[in-house]
Symmetry: C2
Subunit: 299 residues, 2 copies
């Protein structure tokens, strides 16, 4: 096999999600034109499309009807996008740049950015429970997928992680806090993406557990690498401000353990993730490649 | 029958919802203690509990197993509460007082208030899709209830209404804009509450439509009365700042049509609402009383 090109692979699935957005993200009434513009601005702002890629890849281990995955991948990316819009707000991380473009509130103002985030969060749940666009998914699967998404992203998941992240800026932090932040802010949703593939593909409870654990490890590795790149990379390569974590005294792995040990930790996590899915055959190859990519990526 | 006391009636159902919150709104990890505090601060800040009251009352037309309604009523009130927290933010309405208490961001800071809102919005969907706490509700009902909640409160519903409301402050507004704002900001969710009763009570499609239309009218009347009270009442009675709509040049019914015509419009809507549910017997009495209360209330 020729060298696997992860960028192209993620772009391929990302295009499916963008097609979905183009048909679904319509303006209902002229009064909300500016709101939908703002939502679409961030949805179409690029990004790695790692989460959609993970959902399709995980699903591919169990089934091959990829079309039915698209609304779910689109919904999860909506949810991820809302979290970025709110995280960038002046009251939160106060970032001007995201994916090489001005952040949502810089373009549309704070009020609209808050509402665009609220709108995307709500729409993620709208899409996941829409039987019209999900005719090939059983309602029990839809309900399980929706409930687990809420668990992964609420106060006991992503939002909780973001809260702990904000709190940690204000004081000292220890290893337990950093673990909590990384696990909840990033890994829970990544883990959910991997489990979602098993849910939609009629995997067993064992399959779901395995994919969840694979996802927790690659999610954590992803966040550690992110924090390392914030120190070692440049704005031009990353498309966002660098060094800002250090400036803010953010609770990160490299801040606590240094770059080398952080990198070793990430490598270990990826090894464990690969081991967990070694039980699957060739259909798991994309998941193996994603794990490799996460540790090797430069942006 | 003795005079119907609406405050006590709403308090009765509100207490059921608060009991649910007490058992469900637990702190998962010490790192999110402050976040859950902030969420609970607003959940327990009082309020009329009109939406829970409407859900129980509408459901009572069709069935009598009120216990099964509680998680749904709790979820909708969570969603309503998130919308208040975000509306009060400095970037939005910038309000200091809500239900006679300091607004969420005044107590917990802006970042936490944004996250508390995000957390409550997410938790509403978590609760509605939780099969463990909803054993007597069919999954098709849960899915329909969840999907319609998202539709009523997203960019084509409540969030869209709030957006148009913010936009209207910046310029001139006409009758069409005011209708759009009121319909979407308030009536859609109120209407959903009434339909939800029919969904949970196994009402027919005709029942759902009827309850939806009853709800649209009482929701609109509720908002018109709210805007009138903002002009004619006092902070002590309302528990929030008065006159702020006028100060901000907000797009309201009384601003456009004057107080008298606005009151007549609200009365007409209530008459229509009563007519719509006249097909039901005595089980619809609470819904009739709520319609009466909405037009007669003083705060």
């Amino acid at each position: 096999m020729a060298e696997f090109n992860m960028q192209n692979y993620l772009k391929f699935w990302g295009a499916k999600v963008e097609e979905f957005y183009e048909s679904y993200m319509t303006v209902g009434d002229e009064h909300v034109k500016g709101l939908v513009s703002s939502m679409n601005y961030s949805l179409f702002a690029g990004g790695k499309r790692l989460r959609p890629g993970l959902i399709y890849s995980s699903y591919g281990i169990f089934e091959g009807f990829f079309d039915k995955v698209t609304p779910f991948a689109g919904a999860v990316e909506m949810l991820h996008t809302y979290s970025l819009i709110h995280d960038d707000l002046p009251a939160m991380d106060d970032d001007d740049l995201r994916r090489g473009k001005a952040t949502n509130h810089k373009v549309y103002g704070e009020a609209t950015a808050i509402l665009a985030g609220d709108g995307l969060l709500t729409k993620a749940f709208e899409v996941m429970t829409n039987t019209d666009i999900n005719p090939d998914v059983e309602i029990s699967q839809m309900l399980e997928a929706t409930h687990k998404l809420a668990l992964a992203t609420g106060d006991k998941g992503m939002v909780g992680g973001q809260f702990a992240d904000m709190e940690a800026e204000e004081g000292l932090f220890n290893s337990k806090t950093v673990d909590f932040i990384h696990t909840n802010k990033t890994s829970r949703l990544v883990s959910y993406c991997c489990e979602l593939g098993a849910i939609l593909g009629f995997g067993t409870e064992d399959d779901k557990k395995r994919m969840r654990e694979y996802g927790m490890r690659i999610g954590l590795a992803f966040q550690i690498v992110d924090d390392i790149l914030d120190i070692t990379s440049t704005t031009a390569v990353l498309g966002k401000d660098v060094g800002s974590d250090v400036d803010r005294g953010k609770a990160t792995y490299p801040a606590l353990h240094g770059i080398d040990e952080s990198h070793r930790k990430a490598e270990l996590l990826i090894e464990e993730a690969q081991e967990i899915i070694s039980t699957y055959g060739k259909t798991a190859e994309p998941c193996r490649q994603i794990a490799k990519y996460i540790i090797e990526r430069k942006n």
